[in-house]
């Protein structure tokens, strides 16, 4: 009787719905396949700068991010102190990017059979395009892994099944040598570019943000520049980096031709003739560098845009808003980047630092660190008492830096004008809250004057990943290395400076003398690149690929004295002493990754 009771309701436990979505169905329907593809795009978030999840700003010498110092959230604080091992697990993008890589490969493998898409008149073409998008994304993720970790594991095209026996060789793949990693990714980008529209301007407005041939080329330009730079081009420090079978992972012979490849890759984009620097004009048709620089980020899909990250509101505008206006007021530029901006006359205010850390002031610049002047910033309706350090600087300074006493960028909110007060007892000061900037400054770049954290209103816009300005800087840097003196170098360097509203080298109004030697030009290019691309997640990578991080990223870091009130606030102050060890040029392969692959070798020094 009892047994019959069990058998008569056999389905009692079989209640899992048959109509539950399966992965096979995902690849039979158009909308679901497109959602799968959108899911791959999402992994771009590990690249791009919400300042919270990625260390590229917090670890760079231009920014301090310290609020909420829990080990795995803003871990850059611990890393800057040198508290870092392979087992720390900081910013382990390895596992995240490989998830994106798997999803992309799975997509490429399966999208061809999508019956619903194939039934469309342009079905085959759509499948080709979607495959190319996935291929671009996969290459992009590999490229970012290479920039962070060096040589990586290049996986077979076919997706590895999840349920292999633990002794399967596919579960113990080694890293590939750097050159073959770079070649593979570059080839994949070329392959993808063939099947993609040239740039967003060839797409429907609803498809803006999808991969384009230009995006492929831009990624390739960045990766080849990385591969050509001293870190990876003949770096003898990595002679010992070999697989267990003896395969060297980084070639210790320098190859100047890599610079040519990098320059050519950048030139390809210039030669597309689809992009130009974004410029706005003011009264009388004059170029307005302030508005040009500020709105280059805010006017979406202008001519400078190549590729953007499209998920809304990832820039931490709230972290750049005074506390009184409901912000966190926490992401602080360091004194180093403040010092790097030129004066309005194009002169560098500070040419170096003395042994005690005090600046060597360029007497020709007109720069002063004492006293106050009445000064009106471009976006301030009136002049205010301003510390002389921040008076008469180049436009990029005012567009990029909020300093103490300057109004919050949004002056039209219901709060009216909110003055940013970074000193100890100020409204965004350290007393009573950890939501404050230890440097006494806030980023201002790419903050919309119309965003208002108090009302939760943020002007949603895509975030730039690649812009034409960067491509020009890639080009001139690579060109100067393999063909110094090429006229293109000055041409494009001056193009950047012209838009920035600073005197150009050897031409235009009040020109500066053009740098003479290849080395001088290199210095000028490096400086220009930093000032132009600051807070755009480039500085971390530049200091590493140039192999200068040993000088730039360790030691005492200065800021305004945020532990004090005015007048003591207006003085240079060591907010942090950072540690940079030679092994930090590359992230450690996470110990958890090492532990799960017997053929994985660790980066030197870790």
């Amino acid at each position: 009787m009892l047994l019959s009771m069990i058998s008569c309701n056999k389905d009692f436990l079989n209640q899992v719905p048959d109509d539950k979505l399966t992965i096979e169905q995902v690849f039979q329907r158009k909308d679901l396949s497109e959602e799968y593809l959108a899911n791959i795009y999402y992994y771009l978030s590990y690249t791009y700068p919400n300042s919270t999840g990625n260390p590229w700003e917090g670890l760079s010498d231009e920014t301090d991010i310290t609020y909420n110092r829990d080990d795995n959230y803003y871990a850059s604080y611990q890393m800057n102190l040198g508290n870092w091992t392979a087992a720390s697990g900081y910013y382990d993008t390895w596992s995240n990017y490989y998830k994106g890589i798997r999803s992309a490969s799975y997509f490429i493998e399966n999208i061809g059979g999508n019956a619903q898409i194939l039934a469309l008149s342009n079905g085959q073409q759509l499948i080709t395009q979607y495959s190319a998008e996935a291929r671009f994304l996969r290459a992009f993720f590999y490229a970012r892994l290479i920039m962070q970790y060096g040589p990586v594991v290049i996986l077979p095209e076919t997706v590895i099944p999840p349920d292999l026996q633990s002794d399967d060789p596919l579960l113990a793949l080694p890293r590939s040598p750097l050159d073959s990693c770079v070649d593979y990714v570059a080839r994949q980008l070329d392959l993808a570019a063939k099947d993609l529209p040239a740039s967003y301007s060839q797409q429907s407005r609803l498809d803006y943000g999808r991969a384009t041939a230009a995006a492929c080329k831009a990624m390739k330009s960045e990766l080849l520049l990385y591969a050509a730079s001293p870190l990876f081009n003949g770096n003898k420090d990595y002679a010992a980096l070999k697989n267990n079978d003896g395969t060297a992972l980084i070639d210790t012979k320098a190859d100047n031709n890599k610079w040519k490849k990098a320059a050519d890759a950048a030139k390809e984009i210039i030669d597309m003739n689809r992009f130009e620097l974004y410029k706005e004009t003011g009264f009388g048709g004059q170029l307005d560098p302030y508005l040009s620089l500020q709105n280059m980020f805010l006017t979406t899909f202008n001519k400078e845009w190549i590729f953007s990250y499209q998920n809304a509101n990832v820039i931490n505008e709230r972290g750049l808003t005074p506390r009184k206006a409901s912000g966190y007021a926490s992401i602080g530029p360091t004194q180093k980047i403040v010092d790097e901006f030129e004066m309005s006359n194009g002169q560098r205010p500070i040419t170096g630092y003395k042994a005690d850390g005090s600046p060597i002031i360029n007497p020709e610049s007109g720069y002063s660190e004492t006293g106050f002047s009445d000064f009106k910033a471009f976006d301030d309706p009136k002049a205010r008492q301003t510390y002389n350090m921040w008076v008469n600087r180049e436009p990029r300074f005012y567009v990029n830096i909020s300093y103490g006493g300057r109004p919050w960028i949004n002056t039209t909110s219901s709060l009216g004008t909110v003055i940013y007060e970074p000193w100890w007892d100020g409204e965004s000061g350290g007393n009573g809250s950890w939501d404050y900037s230890r440097t006494g400054y806030l980023w201002r770049k790419n903050v919309s004057p119309n965003s208002d954290p108090k009302t939760g209103k943020y002007v949603s816009r895509p975030l730039l990943i690649f812009r034409y300005g960067e491509i020009l800087l890639n080009y001139v840097e690579a060109l100067n290395e393999y063909d110094p003196g090429n006229a293109d170098i000055l041409k494009y360097l001056n193009a950047i400076r012209e838009r920035a509203g600073v005197p150009q080298y050897g031409e235009g109004e009040n020109p500066l003398p053009a740098p003479g030697s290849q080395a001088e030009m290199r210095n000028a290019i490096h400086h220009e690149r930093w000032v132009e691309l600051c807070f755009e997640n480039r500085r971390y990578f530049d200091t590493r690929r140039w192999k200068i991080a040993t000088q730039t990223d360790g030691g005492k870091f200065y800021s305004m004295n945020s532990n004090a009130n005015p007048p003591a606030f207006y003085s240079r102050f060591v907010f942090e002493t950072r540690v940079f060890m030679p092994q930090y040029y590359l992230f450690p392969i996470p110990q958890s990754v090492m532990d799960r692959d017997e053929n994985m070798v660790q980066n030197p020094g870790w």
Partner: protein, 1107 residues
């Protein structure tokens, strides 16, 4: 030496001297001759000795003074002669009935003369049974006041001539005596309950009941009287009361879930998946909100024999609770009431403003920074001249009152006739918490709880062979909270410095710094509205038992149907006050205040709500068989059950599907002569979580019992040790709880983050990706072995139950962890890959006795268990000390602190440590000898926050009408890892963070104390001082006076006058004293910094009566 024991030993000696072997139990041979010498011992002892010698059972309940002293000397005399001698002068005589001897008053013969006078005499017959429906042979049935009586035969049958107005008294050794009026009845069937704790006692086991003597499994039962404590949550009353229960309570907040309970520790990877199965009246239900007054029995089942019938749900042990039913007799009304005050057991205390400021300055200056506070600031704070601008706030003082209030009332009525029994209980519980209130607010933001319970059980014998039971039970709970959660309020008290701003400004404005949200804890408590929560449960069960003796004697069928509903509604009425910060005073001395949260404050209370609910339908059908043939006792049970629980507020498809379960359970047991027992139990059931082919599992267990004290060879010891029993069990139980997920055998497609295209970011796609890969998994299997001993000695003065156990749990459900990350799996597939061993001991020792009017009882119980990870599918770590395998589950890892650095030279010569390292900072051990301290140097430290050892020491004394009882509960092999802002000074920098009052116990340049509590102060986490290390590891053991009760019973004469059965007054205390080496906060809160609502101390006074 105990006097009684001495006498027993003397008696035994005499017995041996006489050289006569004792006779087989239960048989009387009149021809037998006895030699015995008894001198000046009590009559009762004399009967016992005679029983020892002859095996004859004496029935002598309610026959006058058994303590009178007698002497007898007999040589080769018959039992009759001995008894006549013995009873001469005692006013008693004897009568042989079958194999037994009934002792009764001598005047018993007189009534024969009166028989003629009685006009209406009737014959009454009936059967006497035990609760398991066994016929009781040899029960004395006496007519009250007449001395007439009889004894039941082997079928439990008796027959007497009585007057309709008579009452009958049923008495039997080991059972509670019952007196019932005849009331014109001609048949009177009686069920006798065994004396609590005796071997005949019937105890609840999985899906059934059993005599205690025949139990082979490991289980503990708590005397439910001990659970009647003035606390809101029943589960908080369990710690220390039952051997085998490990319990910790991490919050005393009203309405929180109370204590976490594990049976015999933790044997799987997550403590939350180790929770026992709880059955109330046989149905899976939560028990924390039952009023203890309504409970009739509470047991925990620990080993495989006891839990195998629960199959895949039994591996973590089972808690069995049944509620009260009525018993035959006039209605009995019981009332109990108490009222008390509550206090925090222990709050951390914060440093004063001046100490805080000096410490902050020291932290900054001695690390090369500037002082944060000027001398002027410090002086003005010290002088308290302007508390608006120079405040000095003790935030806890600002938040909490000194006492809370508690009240509990219960009334119940029970009774019944032979055909119907009923019980109805009503209770009310009310507790008000410790928060301060703002008298200006119109709403109540106190933390308070009110609970109303109703329990009713009805038993009806529809026919002679059909019994119907209906139970309906429910509760309604109303909890109130402040608009901000306790965690946030306590956290902010740790975040705010004492000098940041006052609690409130003198002009009534609410102070706070500019911040993304409100941070003033006092304002959070009093100015942010309130949350009001209603929870209600209705649980009902209907059970029909049909005796199938027409098919087979001893066979019965039971069907059970239960229907439960649960509802939860939480209404939030919240607001944000305008906050200000004073920056100075104007010329008139008025505060200059700036609005710090412009545009965020609200005047009105917002509304939002959270709702939850479920309903459960449960069915159970069983066949039971029980029969005795001579010395053989056989029983069997086969049961089918299924349940269907539906989340009525589910938010997605998967959770909307009912949670289902079904299975079979069976038991076959055999007992011989109450001496040898064997039992086979099984569960055959399944979990919907697994694929059909892996769904059903068979979980068998065997249990063996041997009552050594019944053996012939044990007889010489029987006077001293009345019971010695060994139990052994071995078997398998399962656990199908898999990490909260359902249907592991089906691959899933997850909605992922997706992406947005379009110029205006106006083309949003949801994301799709594989979520979980299908995995061919099944339940965990726990192989459990238990060896136990039960011992009663010295006439039941001492009893011991002790068990050693071992568990080997395999196939623990885990995500495979050894796959390389470049596979890029969304989530690693599951596998039954984990293995954990657990072993331990638990036991209870009771010692009770009396001297005249003074009686005492001591109880001690002890639980120790230790688990070990055998396999976790994690790859090998770089260094052996980092290995998780071979350690305890959730082992804490950290640095080994060698002390504090004494000099720069010592730092130079030591392995490199991270960050700013100076004398007074913690020096760590370099485990791998690579010259630097990093995470490779972290080793297992400490026992962890769940105690390995739990013990209880209970005592109870009574003298005449007074009694005093209490329980000490303790834990050992447990640690606290201190961490967090406040506990670690300036951990988040100098901008925030309170410090504790022991801040002056620190290393400083002026006072380089190597044994200071705090290392050199640090502004922020500049180095590894605040990493987990043995420096912050503290012993978390404690001994707590968990409860203490003084009771006064009204005298019998007074009760009679008032017509009461019972009346008493009591004083009761909970958590009155705590002894622990750790003094900073309530040690039971565990790791961290004690920033949680602590456990409560309660003082209550009350009374109760019944009539």
């Amino acid at each position: 030496m105990n006097k009684g024991l001495f006498k027993y030993l003397m008696g035994m000696l005499l017995l041996l001297q006489s050289g006569i072997a004792a006779h087989t139990y239960g048989q009387v041979n009149r021809a037998d001759r006895i030699s015995i010498r008894l001198e000046n011992i009590t009559l009762e002892d004399a009967f016992k000795q005679l029983h020892q010698k002859t095996g004859v059972d004496f029935i002598y309940s309610s026959v006058g003074d058994l303590n009178q002293k007698v002497s007898v000397l007999a040589s080769e005399a018959s039992l009759d002669v001995v008894l006549e001698k013995l009873l001469s002068g005692t006013g008693l005589t004897f009568k042989k009935v079958g194999s037994k001897v009934v002792i009764h008053p001598r005047k018993a013969r007189q009534p024969e003369k009166q028989e003629q006078k009685v006009v209406q005499q009737v014959t009454i017959t009936g059967t006497v049974k035990d609760p398991l429906d066994n016929n009781l042979n040899g029960v004395s049935v006496q007519i009250v006041g007449s001395g007439q009586g009889t004894v039941t035969d082997s079928l439990g049958y008796y027959k007497l001539f009585v007057k309709p107005t008579d009452s009958l008294t049923f008495s039997f050794v080991g059972y509670e005596t019952i007196t019932l009026p005849v009331k014109n009845r001609v048949d009177l069937n009686v069920t006798m309950e065994a004396v609590s704790g005796s071997l005949n006692e019937v105890v609840a086991i999985g899906y059934g009941r059993q005599k205690k003597v025949s139990m082979v499994g490991a289980q503990s039962t708590v005397d439910v009287k001990q659970l009647k404590l003035p606390t809101a949550n029943l589960n908080t009353a369990l710690a220390g009361r039952l051997a085998g229960v490990v319990s910790v309570q991490r919050s005393g907040e009203l309405g929180s879930k109370g204590a976490d309970i594990w049976i015999r520790g933790i044997s799987t990877f997550s403590s939350s998946l180790s929770a026992p199965l709880v059955l109330v009246d046989g149905v899976p239900r939560d028990f924390s909100d039952i009023d203890p007054e309504d409970i009739s029995s509470f047991s925990i089942l620990k080993d495989a024999a006891a839990t195998a019938v629960y199959g895949v749900r039994g591996a973590n042990g089972v808690i069995l609770i049944s509620t009260k039913t009525g018993s035959i007799g006039k209605p009995t009304i019981k009332v109990r009431y108490n009222e008390g005050i509550t206090q925090f057991t222990k709050l951390p205390s914060f440093a004063g403003g001046v100490d805080y400021m000096k410490a902050a300055n020291e932290a900054s200056v001695t690390r090369g920074g500037q002082p944060v506070y000027s001398q002027e600031d410090i002086d003005k704070t010290a002088s308290r001249e302007d508390p608006d601008l120079y405040p000095d706030v003790d935030w806890y003082d600002a938040l909490f009152r000194n006492v809370g209030h508690q009240r509990n009332a219960n009334a119940n009525i029970g009774g019944g006739s032979e055909n119907a029994k009923y019980y109805i209980g009503l209770s009310y519980y009310d507790e008000t918490g410790m928060y301060k209130q703002d008298s200006l607010q119109k709403y109540d933001s106190q933390n308070s709880l009110k609970r109303y319970n109703v329990t009713s059980n009805l038993t009806v014998n529809v026919t002679k062979t059909t019994e119907v039971k209906l139970g309906v039970r429910g509760y309604l709970i109303n909890v109130n909270y402040p608009g901000t959660g306790a965690g946030t309020i306590f956290g902010n008290a740790f975040m705010k410095t004492p000098v940041i701003h006052p609690i409130m400004y003198s002009d009534g404005k609410t102070p706070d710094v500019a911040s993304s949200g409100l941070t003033n804890p006092y304002a959070q408590l009093t100015q942010t509205g309130y949350v009001n929560q209603w929870r209600s449960q209705l649980a009902s069960n209907l059970q029909v038992t049909q005796d199938l003796k027409f098919l087979l004697r001893g066979l019965s069928f039971t069907g059970k149907f239960a229907f439960d509903t649960y509802n939860y509604t939480s209404m939030h009425r919240e607001k944000v006050p305008d906050t200000y910060l004073a920056i100075g005073r104007d010329e008139d001395g008025n505060l200059i205040e700036q609005l710090t949260n412009p545009g965020k404050g609200t005047e009105y209370l917002n509304y939002s709500a959270v709702r939850n609910g479920d309903r459960t339908i449960y069915n159970e059908y069983s066949l039971n068989y029980h029969s005795s043939f001579g010395k053989h006792d056989v029983s069997g049970m086969l049961l089918y059950n299924q349940s269907d629980k539906l989340n009525t507020q589910a938010s997605d498809v998967i959770t909307s599907l009912p949670y289902r379960f079904k299975g079979l359970a069976g038991r076959a047991s055999y007992g011989f002569d109450d001496r040898y027992f064997a039992e086979f139990d099984f569960g055959y059931n399944g979990s919907e979580n697994f694929a059909p082919e892996n769904r059903y599992g068979f979980f068998p267990s065997i249990g063996l019992g041997w009552v050594v004290s019944k053996e012939k060879f044990f007889e010489p010891l029987r006077d001293a040790i009345s019971l010695l029993k060994f139990r052994f069990s071995h078997g398998e139980v399962g656990n199908s709880q898999i990490d909260g997920s359902r249907f592991a055998y089906i691959a899933t497609v997850d909605n992922t983050s997706g992406y947005t295209f379009g110029e205006k970011m106006d083309n949003k796609y949801g994301g799709k990706d594989i979520g979980d890969y299908a995995s061919d998994v099944t339940w965990e299997v726990a192989k459990k072995t238990n060896l136990g001993v039960d011992l009663d000695a010295l006439e039941g003065k001492i009893s011991l139950q002790a068990d050693v156990f071992k568990e080997h749990r395999t196939g623990i459900f885990l995500r495979r962890a050894s796959l390389p990350y470049y596979l890029g799996l969304q989530a690693n597939p599951y596998g039954n890959v984990g293995i954990i061993d657990n072993h331990g001991i638990d036991g209870t020792l009771t010692w009770r006795g009396r001297w005249g009017d003074f009686s005492y009882e001591f109880m001690g119980n002890f639980t120790w268990s230790r688990n070990k990870v055998i396999e976790d599918d994690l790859p090998n770590y770089k260094y052996p000390w980092m290995e998780r395998k071979g350690r305890k589950v959730s082992q804490t890892f950290g640095y080994v602190a060698l002390g504090l650095f004494e000099s720069e030279a010592e730092i130079e010569n030591s392995p490199t440590q991270n960050g700013d390292v100076r004398p007074g900072d913690i020096k760590f051990k370099d485990m791998n000898g690579d010259g630097k301290i990093d995470s490779y140097d972290m080793v297992p430290i400490g026992y962890g926050s769940i105690p390995e050892m739990v013990y209880g020491l209970g005592f109870s004394f009574s003298y005449k009408n007074f009694s005093l009882s209490g329980l000490f509960q303790g834990v050992g092999n447990v640690d606290l890892m201190l961490s967090g802002e406040g506990m670690q000074p300036f951990q988040q920098g100098l901008s925030r963070g309170n410090v504790l009052s022991n801040i002056n116990d620190r290393w400083s340049e002026d006072n380089p104390d190597p044994n200071a509590f705090y290392p050199r102060l640090t502004p922020g986490t500049l180095n590894d001082n605040y990493e987990n290390s043995t420096w912050w590891l503290k012993n978390g053991k404690y001994l707590r006076l968990k409860s203490l009760t003084i009771n006064y019973n009204l005298s019998k004469t007074l009760l009679k006058k008032m017509n009461f059965k019972d009346a008493y007054f009591f004083l009761e205390g909970i958590n009155l004293l705590t002894f622990s080496p750790f003094k900073i906060y309530d040690v039971e809160l565990g790791n961290g910094r004690g920033a949680a609502y602590p456990n409560m101390k309660t003082y209550a006074v009350g009374f109760g009566f019944s009539f």
